[in-house]
């Protein structure tokens, strides 16, 4: 469970990244975070695994108070949270399997870390993760020879092999074509359902967000302006998130179904 309690984040230059965020995400939820560029989506995600420190409030992840972690504890904490990036962030000139296994490096003995020799159990775990995202046959190919969609699946396998409870994905499909984007989103959905991993995903394609996520969180200028199940999302709410005025000129086609819609603006 991830729990933001009145969390604010102020960057060193005084910019307010997050303002009084209250958010609770249960284990196994698939949450899409939407909002304009610069709204604070990445900031929110990066606070969860302490890539950014929060300025005030309280953030707990699986019962751990994130603010109080330091040094080695941060690293151990992070290894249970997978992170996916828009630009894949793979190790170039290294094989697919080599990329996936990096996730297990912190658990190896010192000489294995020095020589980069992985035990067979690690290799099997890595191959299993690759099989899970459907690119087992590419295990010994160099990542720079894969397509964007395949590379993102390598990144996904890399997080899976660490057996995470949570996957944070920062615009994972922004660099992909619509068809490939759907395939990768399918992978996310399957992983979410089969392995009960919580998924927090920033995304600019509202249609994909609505199609795949269970819950939508809308952010504007560092504040949560919408938080509700996907079924509750209407065109008005989307206009509200993106334009900041509720009475939109465009009449939406989506109709509210659920009652518990939270709109605070």
């Amino acid at each position: 469970m991830i729990k933001f309690e009145n969390v604010s984040k102020i960057y060193p230059n005084g910019h307010v990244g997050l303002k009084n965020v209250d958010l609770q995400i249960e284990q196994g939820e698939f949450v899409a975070i939407i909002g304009l560029s610069g709204a604070g989506k990445s900031t929110l995600l990066r606070c969860v695994n302490k890539m950014h420190d929060i300025s005030s409030g309280k953030l707990t992840v699986n019962g751990v108070n994130v603010t109080q972690l330091k040094g080695k504890e941060i690293r151990r904490f992070r290894s249970k949270i997978g992170m996916i990036f828009q630009s894949f962030n793979l190790i170039t000139r290294t094989t697919v399997l080599g990329n996936v296994l990096v996730s297990l490096v912190p658990e190896l003995s010192w000489w294995r870390r020095l020589l980069g020799v992985y035990p067979a159990t690690a290799k099997i775990a890595g191959l299993k993760a690759l099989d899970n995202v459907g690119i087992l046959d590419k295990a010994y190919t160099r990542v720079d020879q894969l397509s964007g969609g395949q590379q993102q699946r390598v990144a996904l396998a890399r997080t899976l092999v660490g057996d995470p409870d949570i996957i944070l994905a920062d615009e994972p499909v922004a660099a992909l074509d619509p068809v490939t984007a759907k395939i990768v989103m399918d992978d996310f959905q399957r992983i979410n359902r089969e392995m009960n991993i919580s998924i927090l995903l920033n995304i600019h394609h509202v249609d994909l967000a609505v199609a795949y996520a269970d819950r939508i969180v809308g952010i504007r200028q560092g504040e949560i302006v919408f938080d509700g199940p996907t079924s509750a999302v209407t065109q008005e709410i989307i206009d509200e998130i993106y334009q900041g005025h509720g009475s939109s000129s465009i009449k939406g086609s989506l109709e509210p179904v659920a009652a518990e819609v939270v709109v605070d603006a």
């Binding site: 890539m51 992070r78 000139r93 990096v102 490096v105």
Partner: protein
């Protein structure tokens, strides 16, 4: 129709003024340079010598060529390879710290400027001078050649290494941060794999060059095929020169072909 394409070509951002300026400078320098060269037409002696040299080289001394003792072409070539190989390896190792100290993304400005200056100095001092200095350390022979090559390799190799270092994809470091990796793990698994292929490719390229340059070492008694070659030339034994040159040319062409293949494979996978 062709005018249209010509027009399009002329529409390209024009660098006319730059080219004009460059042309002017080049012309001025050309006139100045010509003053140094005395075009004394080769007299009869010159032409005759040239004829002899060509005749000699084209009829190489087969006995020297197919001689497998330590005086033969094969052994001398092998010794040259060994000098160039060791010199390249040690030079490449020495270049690594230099390269990091020259990289703007790794060290502050004063440090990289000073290191860069130092490397320019190392690179500019002619290898002959190093050769003479190292002969004092190790006595004449191939050992001095290895030491010289180690030093002269640093200049180019570290400069090319820097480009690779500056090219590193930093995204992976962020991803490894998110995985909870330590600094050591980030270097070992995130940075070294990115560097190793290009570093090897550069090193192989330098080996190629060192093999070519190894002849110069012969001038100061630092081993390799250079000394017998220059000795043969100075004593006008052109048949011997021919056999040594053939060996050298063939060797370098073979090594070049292999090294091109290897490098293409390293960089493209």
């Amino acid at each position: 129709m062709s005018e249209m394409i010509e027009l399009k070509l002329n529409e390209q951002p024009s660098k006319k003024r730059q080219y004009l300026l460059l042309g002017g400078i080049i012309l001025a320098m050309l006139l100045w340079s010509l003053t140094a060269i005395t075009f004394s037409a080769p007299d009869d002696g010159g032409a005759k010598i040239a004829g002899n040299i060509i005749k000699g080289i084209l009829s190489p001394d087969m006995q020297l060529l197919w001689n497998f003792t330590s005086q033969g072409v094969f052994y001398l070539l092998f010794e040259t390879i060994c000098i160039a190989f060791l010199g390249t390896i040690f030079g490449a190792i020495l270049s690594i710290p230099f390269a990091f100290l020259m990289a703007p993304s790794v060290v502050p400005k004063p440090v990289y400027l000073i290191t860069r200056f130092l490397v320019v100095v190392i690179r500019t001092i002619p290898s002959l001078v190093y050769g003479l200095m190292f002969v004092r350390v190790s006595g004449p022979g191939p050992f001095a050649g290895v030491l010289t090559m180690s030093l002269t390799s640093i200049g180019m190799v570290s400069k090319l290494y820097v480009d690779v270092i500056e090219d590193i994809d930093r995204g992976i470091l962020e991803a490894m941060d998110a995985m909870g990796c330590t600094t050591f793990e980030k270097i070992r698994f995130g940075i070294i794999p990115q560097l190793i292929a290009n570093f090897s490719s550069i090193t192989i390229y330098r080996f190629d060059m060192n093999l070519r340059d190894a002849t110069i070492l012969g001038l100061v008694g630092a081993g390799g095929i250079g000394s017998p070659l220059i000795f043969a030339m100075n004593s006008y034994r052109w048949h011997q020169v021919g056999s040594i040159l053939i060996g050298l040319v063939v060797l370098i062409l073979i090594v070049e072909a292999i090294s091109n293949k290897l490098r293409a494979k390293l960089v493209n996978g």
